[in-house]
Symmetry: C2
Subunit: 180 residues, 2 copies
């Protein structure tokens, strides 16, 4: 699904890749939509581990934790030669308009994903590390949405520069160090 | 292609929708990839008209022209009930990894798209309307990439709030009024 997309990955491809009979697939998942939902959930479980690694790192300031998250993701994307992006972003553009169930799941995923970022941003604001001109949840949503945009450009360019540009500009403006 | 995606829109669907025999399609386009390239080019031609409407509007300051562009696009997206996004963004996530020809075309489209934004940003910087901390081409690339991210979130939420949030935050930070 990551390589061929939601539409492109047929059930036949999936069972061939997994080396299981097609009956095993249909026993477990009524539809490709149900399978995609499971794939998306497992992907997001993995993302949440990376979020925790960065945003729960007490050795860093809240502002530094935000940057740490983006650096962890950048390293993952680089390891794939900048050829694969984010399955959540891919599904947002490809599957959300085809499946109402996946769209609703994506709404919930973005809301849950935002949570720890909202907390770190609120902590950074309380510590005077970044400006309090915007609500923490607004900034968290902006950050994750714009980062998806940077990943989109990265996939087109096959290059990490859109990610570096994003970090350079965002940390000097939207998440500007209020002490510096 | 806009509704079903690059993979989802089969040649059979396309000729059925167009009400032409399949032979007409294969006479004009050797492959679906060639057809998609034509669709993408025509879409971008339309985008360029909208860019011109906003960024060549001499009655506005260069900074106001940037906002005008985002308002024009917002109105278009709203007219579609926020259910369709941007074909360039859709193809970036779905088709760029499947077709090298489309990926290369997308690289060229983003470079051309950036041009007039770079000019308006440089003019706004020269007039002291926005900060000169970043190069105009960098800011233009950031703006278009992050806007694609906002559209991605809009498609998931089926709501204009991600677009409004983007404008609210970007014009108060990255494109902050240097006079205000």
């Amino acid at each position: 699904m990551f390589r061929k997309g939601y539409v492109g990955a047929g059930v036949r491809d999936i069972v061939a890749e997994a080396g299981v009979p097609q009956g095993s697939f249909t026993n477990h998942f009524r539809t490709k939509e149900a399978f995609a939902r499971e794939v998306l959930d497992r992907y997001f479980d993995h993302v949440k581990v990376l979020v925790g690694q960065a945003l729960n790192d007490e050795s860093l300031t809240p502002r530094e934790r935000l940057r740490r998250y983006l650096e962890i993701i950048t390293a993952r994307l680089e390891a794939d030669g900048f050829a694969r992006g984010c399955l959540i972003g891919d599904f947002s553009l490809e599957a959300a308009s085809l499946s109402e169930a996946l769209r609703e799941r994506l709404v919930a995923i973005f809301a849950e994903w935002r949570g720890p970022f909202e907390v770190s941003i609120a902590q950074a604001q309380a510590a005077g590390q970044i400006s309090s001109n915007f609500a923490a949840d607004d900034l968290a949503d902006f950050l994750l949405a714009s980062w998806e945009g940077a990943i989109l450009r990265m996939k087109v360019e096959r290059d990490g520069e859109p990610l570096e540009r994003f970090k350079r500009i965002v940390f000097a403006t939207v998440l500007k160090d209020a002490h510096g």
